[in-house]
């Protein structure tokens, strides 16, 4: 029976998720009905913007009052025919680069953008150096892979076979 247990819990999780998703989409769908194309564009822009109240959410995800206001603002600006770029600039002028989920590449954000790459390169370089050094070392610098077979006991019968290496 233990093999079926994960299957059951997976199915349960999927069912719960499906119910939850159905619930949210039903609730969110109401305003979208007015103009689905505009709504999709609005959400695409809103997904690029950080909600300043709950900072780990986008304006598209957040239910904070400010996020609702900003979504309305985005919707209105799109309706007026303003481009995504103009809307992002509008938000940046008011809330700073912090509002952008993808911060622009500039001098102050170099470390943010390239730091992880540098760490990766540094790590790989270190690994390579260590491996190269080790490959050039004489074998006696290393511990043997397996413990040496103990010397056959000197005392007692000579014919005694050596003990099997400990596993």
């Amino acid at each position: 029976m233990p093999t079926t247990l994960p299957k059951i819990s997976k199915a349960l999780a999927a069912a719960v998720l499906a119910v939850l998703l159905a619930g949210t989409s039903a609730k969110e769908a109401a305003p979208a009905a007015a103009d689905p194309v505009l709504e999709a564009r609005m959400l695409a822009v809103a997904a690029e913007l950080r909600c300043l109240v709950c900072q780990n959410q986008t304006i598209a995800d957040s239910h904070a009052d400010l996020a609702v206001d900003l979504r309305n603002q985005v919707r209105e600006m799109l309706r007026k025919g303003q481009s995504e770029r103009e809307i992002i600039d509008y938000m940046t002028a008011r809330y700073g680069d912090f509002v952008l989920y993808r911060p622009p590449v500039k001098n102050t954000t170099m470390l943010l953008w390239y730091g992880p790459g540098l760490l990766l390169v540094g790590g790989l370089a270190t690994l390579w150096l260590v491996l190269r050094r080790r490959s050039r070392m004489a074998p006696e610098n290393f511990d043997p892979d397996e413990p040496n077979t103990p010397e056959p006991p000197k005392t007692g019968e000579d014919a005694a076979p050596p003990a099997a290496p400990a596993q």
Partner: protein, 180 residues
């Protein structure tokens, strides 16, 4: 060579601890305002006490003034309010209130209950002007100079320390400035 094997990880660890210690003291809620050093956004809003009268950015040019964003639903506003009331009695500079996403009756009752430090409050009932000012957490306080340029922003309640160490020295300096 052997010694480095101990010192290098220890050094890295020390650097990491250093970053974490600094990180503890930073407040991620305090987002630096891009408005500092830029002209305050234009606005024209009705007065809270007399909606027929409007106040705009141009009306306030030529004097240093404080814009305090507040609302009757805002708990932290009540915390800073006595400080503002006391500060307003000293008549250093005019304080204007931006009544943010609030009901008129609620706001007026709030002022009647807790005192009114404002030369005037203006109603930003839909929060549009708030967005222009980059407001995201009420209360917020801006200092605007004689040319209409934003010089300072306090996010969250004004504290006695902020008032003493930052706001008052800046107000004195700005009041002494003469716009060309």
């Amino acid at each position: 060579m052997k010694r480095w094997q101990f010192i290098a990880p220890l050094g890295l660890f020390a650097v990491l601890v250093g970053f974490l210690v600094v990180g503890l003291k930073l407040d991620p809620r305090e987002v630096p305002s891009p408005l500092i050093g830029k002209p305050a956004p234009a606005f024209t809003l009705p007065r809270l006490d007399d909606p027929a009268q409007k106040i705009g950015r141009e009306d306030l040019l030529g004097k240093v003034w404080i814009l305090n964003v507040w609302a009757s639903w805002c708990v932290a506003c009540r915390e800073e309010h006595p400080l503002l009331v006391e500060f307003s009695r000293r008549k250093l500079v005019p304080i204007y209130g931006l009544n943010y996403k609030d009901g008129r009756a609620d706001a007026q009752r709030w002022l009647a209950n807790f005192g009114n430090p404002y030369d005037a409050s203006i109603s930003d009932s839909d929060g549009r002007v708030g967005i222009d000012f980059g407001v995201y957490g009420v209360p917020e306080t801006f200092i605007i100079d004689k040319r209409g340029v934003v010089r300072f922003k306090q996010i969250g309640p004004v504290t006695p320390a902020a008032l003493r160490d930052k706001i008052e020295p800046l107000l004195k300096q700005l009041n002494a400035d003469n716009p060309a």
